[in-house]
Amino acid sequence: MNDNELIELILQGDREKFGTLVDRYSQMVFRTCMGFVHNREDAEDLTQEVFLRAFQSLAGFKGKSSFPTWIYRIAVNASLNFKRKHSGISLFERLESLFSGEKSAEKNPVFSLTDDPEKILIEREHSLWLQRALDSLPANQRTAIILSKYEDLSQKEISEIMNLSIGAVEALLQRAKKNLRERLSAGDKKKLI
């Protein structure tokens, strides 16, 4: 059963069918959110919020774009809002991590407990280095590069999600990569712990 048929059934009252859409797209939405927040717990909360918003607005889905394109848009907006709301907290957490590394380690549960502690520390350091460089990009550049790098989407797909022309996405990606490279070089990995 394709997405449009499922949506039709959901709108007719078969709410259980929404579970099929969740199964089909939850990992995709989760990965996109991970690109913005770099934290599993927050990315899962965001994924839930994205599907709740999608469920509430399902009647407004006219099928002009595909369901994945539509839900990508919701995921990008939810993630950008989340980052905007939590930018103050993130600064506080960074200050806190200067005194104790525990909190930031809890917020970054990406590594297995069986991993070598030194390896975990280095990976955490690198992840924070990338996170800071990505966060410093303007929202549209960040969105384009996350959709390109985390989701491996083509410029055409990104242009549909961001409502831009393919040429504009190409230019955006070039600027994003150039800025990201500069910020990665400017960011001292060792100072981030």
Partner: protein, 140 residues
């Protein structure tokens, strides 16, 4: 090749989109220029971090959690779908009462089981007159 030209072609080099000649020029520059080589190494590291983050999967119960949240939201948005809150306890009480009543009625209608004393075959066939008196035997 200078650093500016190298930076401009770094993406295309990484993605394998350069002509063989340009690829050779970029590689030669990266070997001799420490700054450009560092920029390229950092880019490769960033790509590796992204690749590692991409492999992370959400928890196994996320779909269940989402569906529970969706059902709650659906109930909030469409209260007419379920019973109104005030009628729910009444409905539960009536259900329990109906179940008890059905149990009693079914119990009355059921056929009682007659319990009959069963005598082993060897005793049932025995002739009482042929038995010796225990009393007489004890007097002998």
């Amino acid at each position: 090749m200078n650093c500016k030209l190298c930076h401009e072609n770094l993406d295309a080099y990484h993605e394998g989109k350069l002509t063989p000649d340009m690829k050779t020029l970029v590689e030669a520059h990266l070997k001799t220029c420490e700054a450009c080589s560092r920029v390229y190494d950092e880019w490769l590291l960033a790509e590796r971090i992204i690749a590692s983050e991409k492999t992370i999967e959400h928890g196994p119960f996320l779909a269940t959690r989402i569906m529970a949240a969706v059902e709650n939201r659906d109930r909030e948005l469409n209260p007419e779908r379920g019973l109104p809150g005030i009628l729910r306890p009444v409905f539960i009480t009536l259900s329990v009462a109906a179940a008890l009543f059905a149990g009693v009625v079914l119990g009355k209608w059921s056929v009682g089981i007659e319990i009959q004393e069963r005598i082993p075959v060897e005793f049932a066939m025995a002739d009482d007159n042929a038995l010796e008196s225990v009393y007489l035997l004890s007097n002998e």
